[in-house]
Amino acid sequence: MLWLCLIAVVVAPDLVRAQLVDGKQVVKAEMISDANDFSKPFTVGIRFAIEPGWYLYWRNPGDGGLPIDVQWELPAGWNVSEIQHPTPEKIAHDDLVSYGYKRGVTLLATITPSAESKKGEANVIKAKLDWLVCKESCVRGKAEVELSTQPLPELKRRSAYSLIKAARDRLPRAFHTAGVTIADARVVNSSPHRVVTVRFTGQKVDRITDFFPDALENASIDYKSVKVENGVLSLTVQPNEEGAVVHRLKGLLMAGSTGYECVIPLKVH
């Protein structure tokens, strides 16, 4: 453990903060945008470059870990959308399951300036970041990143465009484009657990390979129990309180590495 010496450094001008573990930068974070005109709604990306072998966590980290947290500091009157998370990958360690990103990830958000904003006006968007990065062991990381809304150098804008486009291409798609429909979805009491089964039908039902669930508010998911076989998704959950009822399941229906965002209402039996 002695080799795990964590040092945070700040590199101007983008306040890129890196974690040094054994002399290597594990995560580098920066805020990017490909916008020309910051007086209209525009996309920003929080870009994380990750050292090979390490990974950051998705919005639901799974059995362990911690999602990336972003706390925005915007100019007065500006608004920001919910963070959009690209489709993660499943990272299994024995019976424990995590969902995350290896090598790198760009989280996306849309920023809406105030009605009074003018093109070329200098404003600064800031974000405080908090993450956990793991390989064999795990290290907490924090950083503050910022973006100036003055015109960006063309090279930098192009580089941001490529990263944002790649992130957009990895965003989960709408469920109705998956080529499947929900034929039956139910939750059955097998005390102390509840077993969720969802049957999908449709031309592309054979393409479904997995399901990456969002965490439930009133129950804990047994992530290793999640499986899709012959178009039937099944998983086990444990209610947190006696009498807690699981009414719906949210998450990504996976067809290979493509995720489809879905919300599944459950019939309680």
Partner: protein, 198 residues
Amino acid sequence: MRRLFILVAALVVSIAIASSPSVEIGKAVPEFSLTDINGKTVKLSDYKGKVVVLEWTNPNCPFVQRVYRSGIMTSVQKKYADKVIWLTVNSTNPKHQDFETAEDLKKTYTEWKATFVSMLLDPEGKIGKMFDAKTTPHMYIIDKTGTLVYAGAIDDDPRGSKSEKTNYVDAALQNLLDGKPIPVSTTKPYGCTVKYSP
């Protein structure tokens, strides 16, 4: 087709039941024994009739370091030191870089002012897997009758950023010792994954 689905669903339920962990909320915890950091064999039945807390730990996990250094874990350990049997369990496999010898563990937890009856070593991960311990920390409470009554997180603050937090273990122990029902019996544990042997 509908009948077939119900049949499949029933099959899934039965498979899920068959493959469920052997330790479950509301059920008696099976007997187990482990060696502690002093080389002594400790059995669950040694503490029959007492409330037992099991705390999965790994001193190289940043979540464990935080809950110890901030006093979140140690304050509950101290509060119930004369009322419950607190057993800390380390299921880190010896080949993992987080593995520490018994001597190093003693040194670290002494420095952290930990209060426990025993620190148990589970290098093969057998007991961790029996409990389905997923993270460090991951907490379990066994009541005086030997029934598992709580499994989950130490508190509701994975990032350590809340000014007002709920310590689930403190609340559960308080209710249990007052003879009241435990309102939340399961929570999602947070932390590093347990470093089981592959």
